[in-house]
């Protein structure tokens, strides 16, 4: 479903953020990408989201070369991918409800769907009682659960989570990972970057290990090796 074909990204000064990266992700897989800071984990995700353009190589989503998409088709493509970030990236002037509703609005869903789906997805992340709170009135774990709710509300094919537990304590980390696993069980492909050893070891799923822009290991039932 996702295929990176010899993707390299070289910034000025010959710094290679990605160096000849090739891998595939099958539908329904749960893939973790691990590595030190600067190893290229986030760049891989940015490539997939068409936030970065490769210096050489291509990225395919199903059979589309995503970097060949016309600018006006990029928003529609991005709606097929749910994104979760380390720093949550909620819209600060919108309530929890409105943040999630916004993702549905841009996807062109009608008001009836929005008012039935948003409470539903909030129940899924166990935050129905915080529906009308603004992000700065919520804890880190709660914000991240709102972000996940926003990512899944349009039933995307893929969830991309860029160090979603980086700012959270162990209890919240566990909860977030459990939510991601639940989503994966519903047949959504999950792409997770992390450097949390405990998370990787408890998942027991496929792990890609990156070092200096290269994929150095690809383990089917991976452990955190660095």
């Amino acid at each position: 479903m996702i295929h990176f074909d010899k993707v390299s990204k070289i910034y000025s000064g010959n710094v290679a953020a990605l160096d000849d990266v090739t891998f595939s992700v099958a539908p329904g897989e749960f893939v973790s990408i691990v590595g030190h800071s600067g190893a290229g984990k986030s760049t891989v995700l940015k490539m997939l989201l068409v936030e970065e353009w490769p210096t050489s190589g291509s990225v395919f989503f199903e059979s589309t070369d995503v970097h060949a998409l016309h600018a006006r088709d990029i928003p529609a493509y991005r709606r097929r991918i749910g994104v979760v970030f380390q720093d949550f990236r909620l819209l600060p002037h919108k309530t929890a409800y409105e943040n999630i509703a916004f993702a549905m609005e841009v996807a062109g869903r009608d008001d009836a769907e929005i008012s039935s789906d948003v409470p539903e997805v909030l129940r899924l992340v166990d935050l129905k009682d915080k529906m009308w709170n603004f992000p700065d009135e919520l804890s880190g774990g709660e914000r991240q659960r709102i972000a996940i709710a926003r990512a899944i509300v349009n039933q995307p094919d893929v969830i991309v989570a860029d160090e979603p537990t980086g700012n959270l304590d162990p209890k919240n980390t566990k909860e977030i990972i459990e939510i991601l696993q639940r989503i994966n069980e519903l047949n959504t492909t999950v792409l997770l970057t992390t450097h949390n050893k405990g998370v990787i070891d408890s998942l027991g799923k496929r792990v890609l290990t990156m070092e200096r822009g290269k994929i150095v290991r690809d383990d089917k039932k991976g452990r955190y090796v660095l």
Binding site: R72, A76, R78, R79, H93, V106
Partner: protein, 314 residues
């Protein structure tokens, strides 16, 4: 499409109130700019009124020799009236001229006594001519010259004693030049001030949107297309413009009332307050439309940077 439109407007209105302080700053800056635009309108109105008034005061008098017959004078009057440039011609007979002279010097006993000594009325009849435009006096004066010369050739004798245009000419020219340059200078100052406040407006709105750049990037990552990201900002800009325009229109009300008298004394005929009330429709449209144009325009250009940047290949 319609739901999108509704949502964009709703989001814009919500943001306007939730970003209270940013909205306040943008509105205040817009108020200053629109105030400049309004002042421009008032200034040019006042200048125009002053110019018309001074042009109205300009006229030309033709004095006839004492022996000129009334018939000859009236025939010149008829000819003048048939000229397209002439607005009006008033005839003052010798007797009327004497009356006016007496009235003017009624406290000047010596002059009156000197007048009594004379056997005959020393004053000639006169025609007072007003042209439609100040620049036309020259041709009217020339017409009279020609006619006078023609009369002397026909040996009917010259009946025109003098035309005071040539004495007035210098004063008329100088006055209209002063008004002209005052108008140009005033306009230049107001335009420069308006331009400065325009730049400040643009920058303020750009800063306001700069604070939202994170938000814009999140919107795009969630898959919102350009139109959907930009829309609410344009709605906000629209509201800034309208609110600022209303404030300016309200401000002008007491301000013109207060300044009206002073300006009337300074410029002559025009009272800013009554001018404001009489032309409220036009001024309303000018201010509101400039407000909307400025608000929406600055928002459009400011957001554009953050929307298009990420789509460009690096």
């Amino acid at each position: 499409m319609l739901t999108d439109f509704k949502r964009i407007i709703r989001t814009g209105v919500f943001n306007f109130f939730r970003n209270g302080f940013v909205s306040l700053a943008s509105v205040l800056v817009l108020v200053i700019t629109l105030f400049m635009v309004g002042s421009l309108v008032f200034f040019s109105a006042a200048m125009e009124a002053a110019l018309t008034q001074i042009s109205g005061k300009v006229d030309v008098n033709v004095y006839f020799v004492t022996g000129a017959s009334e018939d000859a004078i009236l025939s010149i009057k008829r000819d003048l009236e048939s000229l397209p440039e002439v607005a009006s011609v008033t005839y003052t007979s010798r007797e009327e001229a004497l009356e006016t002279f007496r009235a003017r010097h009624e406290n000047d006993f010596q002059t009156l006594q000197a007048l009594e000594e004379l056997d005959d009325n020393p004053l000639g009849a006169a025609l007072n001519i007003k042209a439609k435009e100040a620049s036309q006096y020259e041709s009217i004066a020339r017409f009279l010259e020609n006619r006078n010369n023609a009369a002397s050739v026909a040996s009917a004798g010259q009946i025109i004693d003098k035309i005071n245009y040539y004495q007035n000419k210098v004063v008329i020219d100088r006055l209209s030049r002063i008004i002209d340059s005052a108008e140009t200078l005033g306009l230049a100052i107001v335009i420069v001030l308006a331009f400065i406040s325009l730049v400040i407006t643009f920058n303020t709105i750009r800063l306001a949107i700069y604070t939202s750049r994170e938000e814009i990037s999140v919107m795009r990552l969630v898959g919102a297309d350009k139109r959907y990201v930009r829309g609410p900002f344009l709605v906000e800009g629209f509201m800034h413009g309208v609110v600022a325009a209303v404030i300016v229109l309200v401000l002008f009300y007491p301000l013109t009332y207060w300044l009206g008298g002073a300006a009337e004394r300074f410029f002559g005929s025009v009272n800013l307050y009554s001018y404001y009330l009489a032309h409220f429709g036009q001024i309303f449209l000018i201010i509101i439309l400039s407000g909307i144009l400025l608000g929406v325009g600055s928002s459009y250009f400011a957001v554009r940077r953050y929307i298009t940047k990420k789509y460009l290949k690096t």
